[in-house]
C-alpha cells in the first residue's frame, strides 16, 4: 500500500515536471530555443545570485542568533579549556571575515558581469602581483594560527608528572564505562583482559598478585576533585571507543591492546557549573522542550519525562556498535573534601572480589 502510494506520488512529480517543461518550451517558442543561456537567463540568474548571497548571510545570522550560544565556545570546566576556546573564537572570527568577503565577491561578480550580447570580456590571464598577494596573506595568517595552535596543543598534551596528578583509569566496553582510581598509593595495579574473571567479579582484569592493585577502586561514576590535575589512562576491552568530555574540552580514544592518556584539571564543580548563566539558560530551554514532549507522551498514556538537571557527562564518540548512542557515564566534580569522602565509601579491589 505504502509502496503504491509512493509510486503514485513519484509518477505525479514526473508528470508535473513534464508539464512544466512544456510550459517553458511554449513560452519560448517564438525564438529558437537552443537550451543555451540567453540574455534573459543571464539577467534572471544574476539577480538570483544576489538573492542567494542574501540567503547565505541570512542563514549565517539566523544560525548564530538561534544556535550560536555554544557550549563549546565559552564556559569550559577545565583549566586548559579557555585556551582552546580562545583559539576557537579567533579561528571563527577569521573564518567569518573571509567567508563574508569571498562569498560577496563571488556572487556580486556573478551578478555584475552577467552576460549580454555584444559585450566584451576582459582578456586578463595573469597577474603576478595579485597572485603573490593572495599567497602571502594566507601564509601569514596560517603561520600565526599554526604557532598558536601548536603551542596550545603541546601545553595540553604534555603531562607534567611533577604536578602530582591523580591517576584515574577510564575503562571502556560495549556499551558502558568504568573508572578505576589508583587508591592511596596513586599507582594503578597491572591489568590485562586475559585476567578477567567474571565469576570472581574481577571485571577489569586486574592482577590479583600485584600489590598496587589491592587498593584500586572501581566505580561506575566518575568523581573528580576541583583544582587537582587528573591524568586519565584509557583502556578498552573490545573495540575502539572514545572518551569525550565536551565540557572539559577533552577527548581521547580507548584502544584495545594499548593504554592512551589525557590529562586536565577540572576548574568548576558540578554545583558551580549549574549556577552559571549559560547552563541555567540551557537547562531551562531543555526543560521547556521536555515539558512539551511530556504532554504528548501523557496524551498517549505514557510516563512523562523527568526534569533535566545539568550533569557533566563522559560520552562515547567513536562508533562502537549497536548501542554506541547510549554509552555515557556521569561525571561529578566536587571539592577535594567531598571527593575524598566519596572515595572512602567505595570498595577497594581486594574487598570486592568474590572468593
Amino acid at each position: 500500500m505504502t509502496a503504491l502510494l509512493t509510486i503514485i506520488v513519484l509518477v505525479f512529480i514526473l508528470i508535473a515536471i513534464w508539464q512544466m517543461v512544456k510550459i517553458f518550451d511554449l513560452a519560448q517558442a517564438k525564438n529558437e530555443n537552443t537550451q543555451v543561456a540567453t540574455d534573459k537567463d543571464n539577467t534572471l540568474n544574476g539577480y538570483l545570485m544576489m538573492g542567494f548571497l542574501g540567503f547565505i548571510y541570512l542563514i549565517t545570522i539566523i544560525s548564530c542568533v538561534k544556535w550560536g550560544d555554544l557550549p563549546l565556545l565559552s564556559n569550559s570546566a577545565s583549566e586548559h579549556g579557555p585556551t582552546i576556546d580562545n583559539l576557537m573564537v579567533i579561528s571563527l572570527v577569521i573564518i567569518f571575515f573571509v567567508q563574508t568577503i569571498t562569498q560577496f565577491l563571488l556572487h556580486y561578480f556573478a551578478f555584475k558581469y552577467k552576460g549580454e550580447k555584444g559585450k566584451q570580456a576582459l582578456f586578463f590571464a595573469d597577474n603576478n602581483k595579485l597572485e603573490a598577494i593572495w599567497t602571502i596573506i594566507p601564509v601569514i595568517v596560517l603561520a600565526g594560527l599554526i604557532i598558536y595552535g601548536l603551542n596550545t596543543w603541546i601545553n595540553i598534551m604534555g603531562v607534567d608528572e611533577s604536578d602530582d596528578p591523580i591517576v584515574v583509569e577510564l575503562y571502556a566496553q560495549q556499551f558502558n564505562w568504568k573508572a578505576r582510581y589508583a587508591g592511596a598509593d596513586n599507582t594503578l595495579g597491572k591489568a590485562n583482559v586475559r585476567l578477567i574473571d567474571l565469576d570472581r567479579a574481577n571485571i577489569l582484569g586486574l592482577d590479583e598478585a600485584d600489590p598496587n592493585a589491592q587498593d584500586d577502586i572501581i566505580t561506575t561514576e566518575l568523581h573528580l576533585p576541583k583544582g587537582r590535575p587528573v591524568l586519565f589512562k584509557m583502556r578498552s576491552q573490545d573495540v575502539l571507543h572514545s572518551a569525550y568530555m565536551p565540557h572539559f574540552r577533552a577527548q581521547m580514544n580507548c584502544v584495545p591492546g594499548m593504554i592512551t592518556q589525557f590529562g586536565f584539571t577540572p576548574s568548576k564543580t558540578t554545583e558551580e557549573m549549574r549556577a552559571t548563566l549559560e547552563i541555567q539558560d540551557k537547562v531551562k530551554n531543555i526543560n521547556e522542550i521536555r515539558v512539551e514532549k511530556s504532554k504528548k507522551l501523557v496524551a498517549k498514556g505514557e510516563d512523562p519525562l523527568e526534569r533535566y538537571e545539568f550533569d557533566y557527562l563522559l560520552i562515547c564518540n567513536k562508533i562502537c556498535g549497536k548501542s554506541h548512542y547510549n554509552m555515557q557515564m556521569k561525571i561529578v566534580v566536587e571539592t577535594e573534601e567531598e571527593f575524598n569522602a566519596w572515595l572512602k565509601e567505595q570498595k577497594e579491589f581486594k574487598n570486592s572480589l568474590i572468593n
Partner: protein, 596 residues
C-alpha cells in the same frame, strides 16, 4: 609515439563499423561509451546512496518513531516501522562508502577522465581500450557485490565507512561485521583493482598520446586535474588494498595485525600484539588523498567551465597547475589529522597540524583565481556555470572550517562531532557533486548529442543550492554544541535535547533537496531521447572535443587529428573577431602566444 597511435587508430576506424549490440553497448572498448557506462552506474549508485541518507536523516529528526517508508524499504530491519539501531549504522556506513567511492570516485573521475582525456588531448582513444573495459567491468562487479551485501542475513557492514577494527573485524561485536563486512572488503578490493587500471591508463594516455603541439603547458586544466588525480590514486589506493587484505587475514585466518587483548561476550580472544592504530594509519594514507581524488577532478571541470562561460581565460593558469601539484603533494602527508585523538604520539600530531594547515594556501590561491576569472567576464549563466559558481561557494564555506579541524588543539573538541560532518560534506561532498553536475550539464551534448533542458537545470540548481546550505550550515552549530556523529538517536539522555529541533530543520531541507534530484534524473534520462539536438560546439568553447562530430565515431575524428597551436583559454583575445579561438587554429601572423 603519437604518429604510431594515429595510424593504428586509423586501422581500427576502418574495421569497426560492423559492431554488434554487445561490443557497442556492453563490452565496449570505446572511451566515450565507457564514460557513459561509468556515469549511468554511478548515477544508480548515487540514487541508492542518497536515499539511504534520507532514511537515516528521518530517523535522526524523528527518532524511534514509526515511519511507513522504513517499513516499506527496510523490512525486517524496521519492526513496526521503527528503524533498528544496527541498520541505522549500516545505512550510515554504506551511504559513506557508496558516495565516496562509487559515486564521487568512479562516477566522477571514471566518467570525465574517460570522456575528456582522449578528446581534449587529441587522441583516438585511451592507451589501452581493453584495460579500460576491464576497469569498468571490475567497477560494475564491485558495485553489484556492494549492493548484494545489503541483503545479507545479519545486515551489511556497519562499522562506519572507515571500518576501523576491532569493530569491523569481530562478528560478535556487531551483526554487520559478519558476512556483510566480508562482502564489503571483497567489493572494495575489486574496486581498487578497477581504479588502479583506470588510473594507469589515464597517466599513460596523457603522457604518450597528446596530439602534435599539445604540450603539457597547453593542456586544459581538466586534463591536469585528471592526470594528477590518477597519480595520487596509484600512490595511495594500493595501501588501502593492503589494509583490506590484512583485515581479511585477521578476520578469516586468525592473524593479529590490528587486534590485541580483546575480551568480548564473556571470552578472551587469542589475538595478541596487533594495533588498531596501524589500521588507522593505513586507512587514512589512502583516506585523505581520497578526498583530493574526489575534489581535484571537480576542480578541473569547474576551471574549464568557468573560463568557457565567462568568455575569459582562466586566471593564473600556471598558478592553478602549481596549486594542483601542491595540493596533491601535501595530500599524501596529512593523513594523521584524522587521528589526533587516536592515541598516536602527540608530537606526530604537531607535524600533521603543520602540514594540514599548509593545504589552505594552494586552496586559497585556487579560490581567488576562480573569483578573478569571473571578474569582468561576460558570464553565460548556463546550468553548468551555476553549478561551478555553487562549487566555489561551497568549497569556500566548507574549506574554511578546515582550519579548525586541522588544528590539533581544536580538533580535540570537535573531532567526530557534526562539525566534521558539516565540514567534509560541504567541502568534498556537495562541492564534488556540484562539479560532477556542472560537468554533466556541460558535456551532455558531447556524450549524448542532445542538450539538457536548461530550465529544469535552473530549478535543479537553485533548489539544490538552498537545500545544501540548509542541511549542512546548521550542522556546524550542533557540532559545536558537542553532538557526536553516528548516534542512532540523541534523545536517550537530555544533554542534547535542545538541538533536536535543529535536526528536524536539517532533515526537512534534506528531504526537499533529495526529492528535487528527481527533476535532474528526469532531465537526464528524457533528454537522451527527446532533448534538443546539439550543435557541434554549443558553448563556443576552445578545446578539441568540440571539433569532433556530434555523432560518436570510433577514433573520434573522421579525418586527421587536429594539431594544436595555442593553449585552451583564448577567450575574448584582442585581435580576433570572435570571442573564442579554438586550440586548433594557427596563430595569426604576428600574434603572440601568451606567456601564461
Amino acid at each position: 609515439m603519437s604518429a604510431h597511435a594515429d595510424t593504428h587508430a586509423h586501422d581500427d576506424h576502418g574495421h569497426h563499423h560492423k559492431e554488434t549490440f554487445v561490443t557497442k553497448y556492453i563490452f565496449s572498448m570505446d572511451h566515450k561509451m565507457i564514460a557513459k557506462q561509468y556515469l549511468v552506474t554511478g548515477t544508480i549508485m548515487g540514487v541508492i546512496g542518497v536515499m539511504m541518507s534520507l532514511l537515516f536523516r528521518m530517523q535522526i529528526a524523528w527518532p524511534e518513531q514509526p515511519n511507513v517508508l522504513f517499513e516499506a524499504l527496510l523490512g525486517k530491519w524496521a519492526p513496526d516501522g521503527v528503524m533498528d539501531a544496527d541498520i541505522y549504522l549500516a545505512l550510515v556506513t554504506i551511504h559513506g562508502t557508496i558516495m565516496v567511492f562509487f559515486v564521487l570516485t568512479a562516477g566522477l573521475s571514471g566518467t570525465f577522465s574517460n570522456l575528456l582525456i582522449p578528446l581534449q588531448i587529441g587522441a583516438r582513444d585511451m592507451a589501452s581500450g581493453f584495460l579500460n573495459m576491464v576497469s569498468y567491468w571490475l567497477f560494475f562487479v564491485s558495485s553489484i557485490i556492494m549492493v548484494i551485501s545489503l541483503f545479507v542475513e545479519a545486515g551489511p557492514a556497519a562499522a562506519g565507512w572507515t571500518i576501523y577494527p576491532p569493530l569491523s573485524a569481530l562478528p560478535m561485536a556487531q551483526g554487520g561485521s559478519g558476512a556483510g563486512m566480508t562482502l564489503w572488503l571483497v567489493s572494495m578490493a575489486i574496486f581498487i583493482a578497477s581504479s588502479l587500471l583506470g588510473s594507469l591508463n589515464y597517466v599513460v594516455t596523457v603522457l604518450n598520446l597528446r596530439t602534435k603541439g599539445m604540450s603539457m603547458t597547453r593542456l586544459p586544466l581538466t586534463i591536469w586535474a585528471f592526470f594528477v588525480t590518477a597519480i595520487i590514486g596509484i600512490i595511495s589506493f594500493p595501501v588501502l588494498l593492503s589494509a583490506a587484505l590484512l583485515l581479511i587475514m585477521d578476520r578469516s585466518f586468525g592473524t593479529s595485525f590490528f587486534l590485541s587483548d580483546i575480551f568480548i561476550q564473556g571470552e578472551v580472544l587469542h589475538y595478541q600484539g596487533g594495533s588498531p592504530v596501524l589500521f588507522e594509519h593505513l586507512f587514512w594514507f589512502l583516506g585523505h588523498p581520497e578526498v583530493y581524488i574526489v575534489i581535484l577532478p571537480a576542480m578541473g571541470l569547474v576551471s574549464e567551465i568557468m573560463a568557457t562561460n565567462s568568455r575569459k581565460p582562466i586566471f593564473g593558469y600556471r598558478a592553478m597547475i602549481a596549486s594542483i601539484l601542491a595540493i596533491a603533494f601535501l595530500s599524501t602527508i596529512v593523513w594523521g589529522h584524522h587521528m589526533f585523538v587516536s592515541g598516536m604520539n602527540p608530537f606526530l600530531g604537531s607535524v600533521f597540524t603543520f602540514t594540514t594547515l599548509l593545504i589552505a594556501i594552494p586552496s586559497a590561491v585556487k579560490a581567488f583565481n576562480w573569483i578573478t576569472t569571473i571578474w569582468k567576464g561576460n558570464l553565460q549563466m548556463n546550468p553548468a556555470m551555476l553549478f561551478s559558481i555553487g562549487f566555489v561557494s561551497t568549497f569556500i564555506t566548507g574549506g574554511l572550517t578546515g582550519i579548525i579541524l586541522g588544528d590539533s588543539a581544536l580538533d580535540i573538541n570537535v573531532h567526530d562531532t557534526y562539525f566534521v560532518v558539516a565540514h567534509f560534506h560541504l567541502v568534498m561532498g556537495i562541492s564534488a557533486l556540484y562539479g560532477m553536475f556542472a560537468g554533466i550539464y556541460h558535456w551532455y551534448p558531447k556524450m549524448y548529442g542532445r542538450m539538457l533542458n536548461k530550465n529544469l537545470g535552473y530549478i535543479h540548481f537553485w533548489i539544490t543550492a538552498v537545500c545544501a546550505y540548509g542541511v549542512f550550515f546548521p550542522m556546524h552549530f550542533i557540532g559545536m554544541a558537542g553532538l557526536p556523529r553516528r548516534y542512532y538517536t540523541n534523545s536517550n539522555f537530555p544533554l542534547f535535547d535542545d538541538v533536536s529541533n535543529v535536526n528536524v530543520i536539517i532533515t526537512i531541507f534534506a528531504l526537499i533537496g533529495g526529492v528535487v534530484q528527481i527533476v535532474y534524473l528526469y532531465n537526464f534520462f528524457s533528454s537522451m531521447y527527446y532533448g534538443k539536438k546539439a550543435t557541434q560546439n554549443p558553448w563556443r568553447a576552445t578545446t578539441l572535443e568540440w571539433t569532433t562530430p556530434v555523432e560518436h565515431i570510433h577514433g573520434n575524428w573522421p579525418g586527421e587529428i587536429p594539431h594544436v597551436y595555442r593553449w585552451s583559454y583564448d577567450y575574448s583575445k584582442p585581435g580576433h573577431d570572435v570571442d573564442f579561438v579554438p586550440q586548433n587554429v594557427p596563430l595569426k601572423d604576428g600574434e603572440e602566444e601568451l606567456q601564461h
